[in-house]
Amino acid sequence: MPVDIDAVVLSNDRLSKVYNVIKLSAPEIAAISHPGQFVMVRQDCETAPLLRRPFSIFEILRDNQQQVSGFSLLNKRVGTVTDALFLLASGDRLQCLGPLGQPFSTPPSSAAWMVAGGVGLAPFATLAEDLRQKGVPTTLFYGGRSAEDLFYVEWFERLGIRVLLTTEDGTRGELGLVTLPLKRELTTLPPTTELMIYACGPTVMMHTVAALAQAHNRPIEVSLEPVMGCGLGGCYSCVVRVRDERDKNSSQLLRSCLHGPVFAGDQLVWDDLARAV
């Protein structure tokens, strides 16, 4: 059951000129959230900007006694709202409604691969912790434009995650797109390994990852980031076209706030998604 918290900003760590991590005191939300869920946030600002914006829950924060104390958001400046979030100071407040949406599923598997593009890293910190707790060997494929777009690499490595980096300009990790090492590893993975793939990032990246997964007959879940008005199923703005499970030729528009944001990659009609962005 979602709650609305007027959360205090504990810290705002600016990772670069465009990325920052906002730590929030909100144990009420953090304690009941699952990997892949999101919050709708808004600063108290009368009527402009008016609507809340969806954010994946990034890290779950714990105090010195290891009690859950809040969560963080990974923010990238792309417009008015995210610019304002970049400028938050500790002590400021942020209205947070959540946790919302369907989480990732973590069926028993012998390997898990998380594929992140840019700010698409956001839902994978909590998922990584969950997978490690379950003892699943986990790899993070993480791509950005340049070295300065890659963060928290050591954080994931400390958890025991194998991290494979790519940059489009070759300044860190392998030169190329994140799908390059993914393709290679998919080809060499023994067929007996029970693999689960997760992806989050630009639509075209997730589409490619979903296609690769399907070509290799591997299950995949993606976390979408459509425009959302309310996060609760009230406005019908965040619909995505999803294939009927029984009849693959028919499809329907589902609200990604209620039925997502996590969807099975082979359920989505990707051509429709590509058109919407």
């Binding site: 059951m1 979602p2 009527t47 402009a48 008016l50 009230g234 019908y236 703005s237 429709d272």
Partner: protein, 315 residues
């Protein structure tokens, strides 16, 4: 001082209070039962229904604008029969007062919808959507002509004994004439305003921000225009008015009541703060108390036109 009573008589409907969830802004109501106790609202106007299921428009369906938003959802919906079978029982369980918003492409479709819903258990009233700006046919085509408005209301009037509330569009020159036409055709009340036809363009790509090109503007940005229209309709008709357009606070509710609304609907603000309902009720109670009124109807239509134009000085 007697305790404040928020109950309102809205035509033949007795509402617990004058605050109603606006159609298109709270799904079918059932999505919000974790957050909103629907029985504490005056009523819930559920998402507009056609006879058949509809897909609606392709995304992007909304875009934020200054103190408002545009939407072009295109009335995606499950159709009236699935609503009656799947959603209405849940709404009855919540003890919600349900206003069903209906939309057709022909006059006969409105009448057919009214007949189906008259036979269903748990429908308090019908709101006739003759004002959706996002459809090529139906809806606003009726709401933009006096004859069309009269024809739909008249047909539904002959098909049901449920209270009928045509929802008027603000995209006309003289909205009061449309309220009058609805009243003459036998409407029990009118609700206004629906959204304003509008458009936003991405200047980098030079493409419209909505896939439907145009959409309906709602939110605080439209409130002063909606207030003016409610005021004009109050002078033109004697049937009750359900006022709406950009309500966000209890003060906004009070402004609509003073302008002449007997009850109000709240839509876009529910997206921003789904927990706002008790705050609105509390704020309305405080206002009535402060001004020495025991009931809501004491302030309805009490706008004082004798000394206009001075309030800006104090604010």
């Amino acid at each position: 001082m007697p305790p404040i009573n928020l109950e309102v008589a809205f035509g033949s409907l007795q509402l617990k209070n004058p605050i109603v969830a606006a159609s298109g802004c709270i799904g079918y109501g059932v999505e919000y039962t974790d957050i909103v106790n629907l029985s504490t609202l005056g009523a819930v106007a559920v998402k507009g229904l056609f006879l058949e299921e509809r897909e609606g428009h392709a995304p992007p369906r909304i875009v934020e604008t200054p103190s408002g938003m545009l939407n072009a959802i295109g009335l995606q919906g499950i159709g009236v029969r699935r609503f009656v079978n799947e959603k209405l029982p849940q709404l009855r369980e919540c003890n919600a007062v349900v206003i069903v918003n209906i939309c057709g492409t022909t006059v006969d479709e409105y009448a057919e919808l009214a007949r189906i819903l008259s036979d269903a258990e748990g429908v308090a009233a019908l709101e006739l959507n003759i004002s959706c700006p996002n459809l090529k046919e139906g809806g606003i085509t009726f709401g933009c002509s006096l004859e069309g408005t009269h024809a739909v209301v008249d047909a539904v009037r002959h098909a049901t004994s449920l209270p009928i509330i045509p929802k008027l569009t603000p995209n006309v020159t003289d909205v009061a004439a449309f309220a009058k036409a609805a009243e003459e055709a036998g409407a029990d009340a009118v609700s206004l305003v629906n959204t304003f036809l509008a458009m936003a363009i991405d200047i980098e790509t030079r493409r419209p921000r909505l896939s439907n090109v145009v959409g309906g503007l709602s939110g605080p940005a439209i409130r002063p225009i909606a207030i003016r229209m409610v005021h004009q309709c109050r002078q033109a008709v004697t049937i009750p008015i359900m006022g709406m357009g950009g309500i966000r606070t209890a003060d906004d509710v009070v402004e609509f009541l003073i302008a002449g609304a007997d009850a109000v609907q709240v839509g876009t603000a529910n997206f921003v703060d789904p927990f706002l309902w008790p705050k609105l009720l509390q704020g309305l109670t405080v206002y009535l108390e402060r001004h020495g009124h025991a009931k809501v109807s004491d302030i309805v239509g009490t706008v004082d036109l004798s000394t206009p134009g001075i309030s800006w000085i104090s604010s």
